[in-house]
Symmetry: C2
Subunit: 457 residues, 2 copies
């Protein structure tokens, strides 16, 4: 067995830091969503880029697959070891390597989580704003091209990674990007590795763009009769140039779950949750503009959360929405899916999806990032009930088809992994083959996270 | 000759729209800067993506190089036909294909210039803000990953291209990206083709992110005793979260040239030119913050240009700075170079370059985009004077070495072309080989703009 030979060599190299214990393998073979357990053959815990490079070289010599592993919060099965091999867990590579406060950048190892990073930054007046909800690792967030609630203002990981250190499939270590804010010096390899889901190499360091902690922050919650009005309010506000920091929506089903979980009493209709960042005066002005637009569009129950504790309660409620929805049917598994469409088609996409779910035997609250045209359906099904499981899959399938028909994408922020591979041909056509050409050029033996994102075979 | 065979086939296909006239060849073989005339064997003027694909297929069949051509404003020899072949001029592919006002996006053909595009957008309340100074074509701006004066606020072409249509080296046509604002669906091919300088394919359509025309705009000019104070003022302002739309600097030599050319009477010391975009109140607040910072840093002669005509005069002066500098020694050629460094190292980079130029036999004003850490030296030399020509090359060489030593890049916005290839190994190391691997995977016969950006051979 070539994997076994690789494991012997890795065990000699890493000693106790190569684990083959059952709990370790199961932890690294699990998923937060509906994918079946698919453990690796071993888990490696490297402590340096040099060790990662050596691990990859050993695996390359013995045709052993290599799968990067951060916090395990991906939703499309990105870390599952579908062809066995070694999970490289970056738990012990979670340091801040360099803080460039004057340049508003930071270089970190991939295992640091976004919350830990922001904790380290707290006293500097700077922050790393990308916020996918889960306390994901920064390396994982880059690999999935994560975004979340603040992307409408601060961009996604694509916009906030300035440079990378990557271990390639043959063990070479490259640097992409520089500490300059921009560059025209050749192909944008940073952008290529961000979102590659570990299929082109393992990210071992990242230089990130930081942003100033806003002087003032205000948040608000507001109810609408229907999604169309909510989306129109957001469109109008964006077109007026108001730099909203967060614009989230919850449908009525999400509100019901949130009310039950967070002991809130929001009316059971679509809601927007918004946040403004800026100077005291700037935030006040933005909020006034938004308030006027919302009133014009029939928004009601407008409630400000200017105090930090109220704001914190609001976003805790939003971040717990996923758990609140899971709790609403505790016996169920969730098929969590996300799509992204042009904002002009968002209301239509949400309403059609809403109706489609209502006509099915299962429940599926919808919520998302309305400023980006990105939303999630959390399709709850009893894994023992075949009809429900099929209904969830069918709904998810139609949701993606709807997104593509509306000029959108199969996933705004969760990535492809295993769950969305079936849509790559429909979304990309021959461009998917180009991705395959690049993959073969950089990983000819198909050892870096095989079975994900790319065409099989 | 295989190129001749290709030209015969192209001539049959395009008729009069394949030109071999001397003026046409010379126009397409020239450069705005110091590169020697290097004409193609023919110039093609396609009218559709299908025609571009057919041109590329014919060229592929006969091993004939293909070079995309927009407005001819590139500065590093990107369009020179160093191995002969066909220049594909996008003059007749300059239409707006779709304006999505609600989604704040637009799809255009590559030949449209940024000024023509903004003219088309004028009545919509939207704008395409990327402004490299020259009235470049949008396709060329994408291929060079252009940026310019507004990148500090609105980003570069990397940030403002949502999707592309590309004709690959084998004539296949692919679409990258969607009209959704973000996506995690596979490798970021859009980002790969932006900045590839036509070496991976020809861009035949682009979907661009638009921005709202600001409600209010204010600009100002301000003098400083030295660059360090000017840079500190900018750093402090950015860290306070003020979203400056433009932050340009001119050194004393640039100011002298500008004064002579634009009949201004700015004092002969470093200047900042700034612009703020926002609401009436927002712009006022931003300007006040900046004014206070500037005063703290010893800025003087602060002058606002709130009226559109004053503002227009200010930016016309800035945009004409290149011509003003050329006029200051009308017998000379310019070696125009650009580098980008972390902002914390910008003052040092400018001062060291200043001193280096002062110790040389030639003049070379320095100006640039201080908010990005990006600046240009316009090195003026008499092309008939070997000592001057050598001094310009040596200064440019040391400038790039300085940038790399300070953690920066060999080019912030002009690209690699021919002029910066010598620095790719130093800046990228093995990552340059990875670019070569990608090139070989997508263009195995090396026919797409050969001789540029990548390692020779």
């Amino acid at each position: 067995m070539s994997i076994e030979t690789a494991l012997d060599a890795l065990s000699t190299f890493l000693g106790q830091r190569l684990s083959r214990s059952k709990p370790d393998l199961e932890q690294h073979g699990g998923s937060e969503t509906h994918f079946p357990m698919t453990p690796p053959d071993a888990v490696a815990y490297p402590r340096s880029t040099e060790e990662v490079a050596e691990i990859v070289k050993i695996c390359a010599a013995h045709d052993c697959p290599v799968i990067g592993y951060g916090a395990g919060t991906s939703l499309e099965g990105q870390t599952l070891a579908v062809r066995g091999g070694v999970a490289v867990d970056f738990r012990d590579m979670a340091a801040v390597l360099h803080l460039g406060a004057e340049d508003m950048d930071v270089t970190v190892q991939p295992g640091i989580t976004r919350e830990a990073l922001n904790e380290e930054l707290r006293a500097t007046g700077l922050m790393f704003p990308v916020d996918p909800g889960a306390n994901a690792s920064i390396g994982g967030m880059a690999s999935t091209r994560a975004s979340g609630t603040t992307a409408v203002r601060y961009g996604t990981m694509r916009d906030n990674v300035l440079g990378l250190e990557v271990v390639l499939a043959d063990g070479r270590v490259i640097q992409t990007g520089t500490r300059a804010r921009k560059s025209s010096a050749g192909y944008d390899l940073t952008g290529l590795f961000v979102g590659a889901e570990g299929t082109l190499g393992l990210i071992t360091a990242l230089t990130l763009r930081l942003h100033g902690q806003p002087e003032a922050v205000t948040a608000a919650v507001c109810a609408f009769d229907d999604m169309a009005a909510a989306v129109q309010a957001v469109q109008a506000t964006i077109q007026m140039g108001v730099p909203m920091a967060r614009i989230e929506f919850l449908d009525a089903a999400s509100v019901a779950a949130v009310n039950a979980y967070s002991k809130t009493d929001l009316p059971l209709c679509p809601h927007l949750l918004v946040e403004f960042h800026g100077s005291e005066a700037g935030v006040k002005e933005q909020a006034e503009v938004f308030g006027e637009v919302v009133t014009d569009m029939g928004g009601k129950g407008f409630e400000w959360a200017a105090k930090p504790e109220d704001r914190s309660a609001l976003w805790t409620m939003r971040h717990h929405a996923y758990w609140a929805i899971l709790q609403s049917r505790p016996d169920c598994t969730a098929l969590v899916t996300d799509i992204c469409v042009p904002i002009s088609r968002l209301a239509e996409a949400v309403e059609d999806t809403r109706a489609d779910i209502a006509a099915s035997p299962i429940t599926g609250p919808i919520l998302g990032h309305v400023g980006d045209g990105n939303f999630h359906a959390i399709l709850l099904f009893d894994p023992g009930n075949e009809e429900e499981a099929k209904a969830a899959k069918d709904l998810s399938h139609r949701l993606v088809e709807r997104a593509l028909a509306l000029g959108g994408t199969a996933t705004g922020e969760h990535g492809i992994g295993l769950g969305k591979k079936a849509y790559m041909q429909a979304e990309h056509g021959d461009a998917w083959d180009v991705m395959g050409d690049i993959k073969r050029a950089l990983d000819p033996k198909n050892l870096m996270n095989p079975g994900k994102l790319l065409r099989d075979g």
